[in-house]
Amino acid sequence: MSISIQTYLHKQTKAAPLAVFRVLFGLLLVVSMIRFWYYGWIEKLYLLPNFHFHYYGFEWVQVPGNWTYALFFICGLSALFFAIGFKYRISILVFFLSFTYIELMDKTTYLNHYYFVSLMAFILMWLPAHRHFSVDSFLNKSIRVEFIPKWNIDALRLMISIVYISAGLAKLNGDWMYKALPLGIWLRDKIDMPIIGQFMDERWLHYLFSWGGAVYDLFIVFLLLWSRTRVIAFIVVLLFHFLTKAMFPIGMFPYLMIVASLLFFSNSFHTRLLKGISKVFRIPYEAFCNGMKLTASTFFSRAALLILPLFFLTQLLVPLRSHLYAGNLFWTEQGYRFSWRVMLMEKTGYANFKVVDRVSGKQFYVQNEDFLTAFQQKQMSTQPDFIVEYAHYLGDHFKSQGHQNVQIFVESYASLNGRLSQPFIDPTVDLLTVKNSFKAKSFILPLRND
């Protein structure tokens, strides 16, 4: 057993796939950062709101005012630096920290693919991605190698596999498989699309896409791993992601996943790609093909072999935490995030907050648009932890305005995957008496018509 592990850990492969991934992943993130800035989202999502929703345990992460632009600049610059492999160890660390900080500033903007970026950057921090086809190894011959231990690439592949397979397993639920929801809701107004638009209103197409999506997520990794199906699998990857890109506003996500799937390609493919790129940019690529292997154990390789197994263990466990809670997961969203549950539900909500003076009984309603942006209102009204956090914010606000004996109640309704709206949070619970925690939220009313 331990011998076979040792043999595996010493197995060498070309460094080219890791270098290709570093370059493309980094450049995509540079584009992401510029795009985010260009669209004015820094201002819209972080500077305009008066209040931000925090992740449990990360309440200390604050939006640094106008310095947020500097934060994005540093994030984009570090992505560029690690893409070209310049001061790699520092730049990937700075990228991981700045990107993750940005994501932690407001959970309103939570997206699975941002989380994926953070995780991939975390893994990359421990890998020798700068020892081939990089500025660092160009300037410093002593770190330059042509071969690296294969587990470095397998670590990234494992992460991608976890994402796809978890996403596939999550699709195996009643709404997705037997009602073709929420896809049915999303597809039926896409009748303007070329060719397939005319079928977008048809139920069979909704089922085809739902089942096709589940099969894709569950099996694509295996098809990419096997060399005989790899090319056809990659064509499917392209089709899948450009189709979803054409239908939904999913930003950079398809490109990320396409770049990630290149990691499954052969050494010769990546070598040829690097040669091609080198030709265009007049880089003497042969210099990197020095026949050297990375065999010595370094600080980072020792750390990686200690940290990455623990990391993957948590990656397997975190998506399973939702099973610790009773009730419909989509309804309560206890343990929903960080679990690769992608596009699984259409949920809309409405939350009308009532401020009550416990002694005099006087009460009034809150106009949410006075405190939250439209986007924040949308996210808040369907997620119980948002509702609690906002209620506490309202409590503090009205207390500071001189109101006394403040109680906050909410009359809320939500609709899940086409079900008729129904009461969401117990309207008799003073939300100032409850707190966000990992404990089950007893004030969520059960979903009827589950």
Binding site: Y39, W41, K44, L45, L111, H113, I185, R188, D189, I191, D192, M193, P194, I195, G197, Q198, M200, D201, V231, F234, I235, L238, F242, K245, A246, P249, I250, G251, M252, F253, P254, Y255, I258, S268, R272, G276, V342, M343, E346, T348, G349, Y350, N352, K362, Q363, F364, Y365, V366, Q367, T373, A374, F375, Q377, K378, H403, A414, S415, G418, L420, S421
Partner: protein, 372 residues
């Protein structure tokens, strides 16, 4: 093999390079099938509801201007009455266009200049006396539009005689003319824009993203319903957003007996827009109601949402029957009836904002950030 790989890479980079953020289909819209056509709905909204409603409103404002000029040509009780009548009827026609804060109206922020109430009496008097005012400034929202006119025509003095005196004073005349001209000019500007190309822009933007016309106007519609109809006209004066009732915050506070009529105007406009009642012909066309019915039929949903929404509005209408023409009086004498009206309107918010938005897959306003 290697050629194939190279080809795949080419496809990939080409796709990345071309993959804009608006991958709207370029093919001709499909007309053969029975799919619901958002473009047709937008055309009906523009041609049968929005533009005719604005035309009617602007015609009313021309009459308002004429009657004001007639009043200044010959100030008397009778010409004051005509002026007031023209004011009231144009305040009424305002209710039928206030929902449509899109295009030019959105750009100039029309509603802020037309109907921010309660009017700021002190500001109005300062502006009038100092003759140093700039109505373009946001700080003057509450010193212009219909509420300010309401104050000048009914509230600034105690008797009609003294009101005539004030209106015909040098300062009074300058300010009154400024207000009426501004109301007329801004609304005319919006109507002109609809007729000069915005109509086509509006109708052709028939996609289903956050910036598509359907999504934008439905969001505007819901925003109007929730904030300007439910809250401003009923909820706020009835004290639903404060610890005490605020009867002085009713619409048309100085003219007294018209707050119910103004509310009814806005509420009818809401229902007609939802049901697709043509402003021109009074016949039913294609609107949110038909859209919801189409989905109910094709997607086999639990309930007929359009019917549920109309039913809820019917109970609001029944509640309204017993309410005083003067909302202020109603609140002072019997606020629970006013609160009951508020709750009837409120119950429809859930059906509209939760169930309808989900059924129609309408994106929330202004948020075009990524999803996954």
């Amino acid at each position: 093999m290697s050629k194939l790989h190279f080809l795949l890479c080419l496809i990939f980079f080409f796709a990345v390079a071309c993959g804009g953020d608006n991958m709207e289909g370029e093919g001709p819209p499909e007309t053969e099938n029975n799919s619901f056509n958002r473009g047709e709905m937008l055309a009906f909204w523009a041609d049968d509801i929005i533009i005719p409603a604005y035309s009617d409103h602007v015609e009313g404002l021309d009459i308002l201007l004429e009657s004001m000029n007639a009043f200044y040509a010959n100030p008397s009780q009778s010409s004051l009455n005509d002026f007031r009548d023209a004011y009231l009827s144009s305040y009424q026609t305002w209710q039928q266009v206030s929902i449509f804060e899109i295009g030019k109206a959105e750009e100039i922020g029309l509603r802020n200049f037309m109907n921010i109430y309660p009017a700021n009496e002190e500001l109005i008097e300062n502006n009038l006396n100092s003759q140093d005012f700039n109505l373009v400034l946001p700080s003057n929202f509450a010193a212009q539009g219909f509420p300010a006119l309401d104050y000048l025509l009914y509230g600034i003095e105690d008797t009609d005689e003294t009101i005539i005196q004030l209106l015909t004073s040098e300062n009074g005349r300058v300010y009154t003319e400024a207000l009426v001209n501004r109301i007329r000019d801004l609304n005319t500007e919006v109507l002109t824009d609809w007729n000069d190309g915005f109509r086509d822009e509006f109708v052709s933007n028939d996609g289903s993203s956050a910036t598509a016309s359907t999504d934008k106007l439905v969001n505007d519609f819901l925003f109007y319903y929730e904030r300007f109809l439910r809250a401003a006209k009923v909820g706020i004066p009835a004290g639903k957003f404060s610890t005490n009732t605020e009867p002085s915050r009713v619409e048309g506070f100085y003219s007294m007996n018209f707050s119910k009529q103004l509310f009814q105007g806005g509420f009818s406009a809401v229902q007609d827009f939802f049901n697709g009642i043509s402003f021109r012909t009074g016949r039913q066309g294609i609107s949110l109601r038909q859209y919801l019915e189409h989905i109910h039929m094709t997607a086999d949903t639990e309930v007929d949402l359009a019917a549920a929404i109309n039913e809820q509005w019917q109970s609001a209408e029944s509640q309204l029957v017993g309410v005083n023409n003067n909302f202020q009086e109603q609140i002072l004498e019997d606020n629970p009836a006013m609160e009951a009206l508020y709750y009837e309107l409120q119950d429809a918010v859930v059906l509209l904002k939760v169930d309808m938005l989900q059924a129609l897959n309408i994106q929330v306003d202004f948020v075009d950030a990524d999803g996954d």
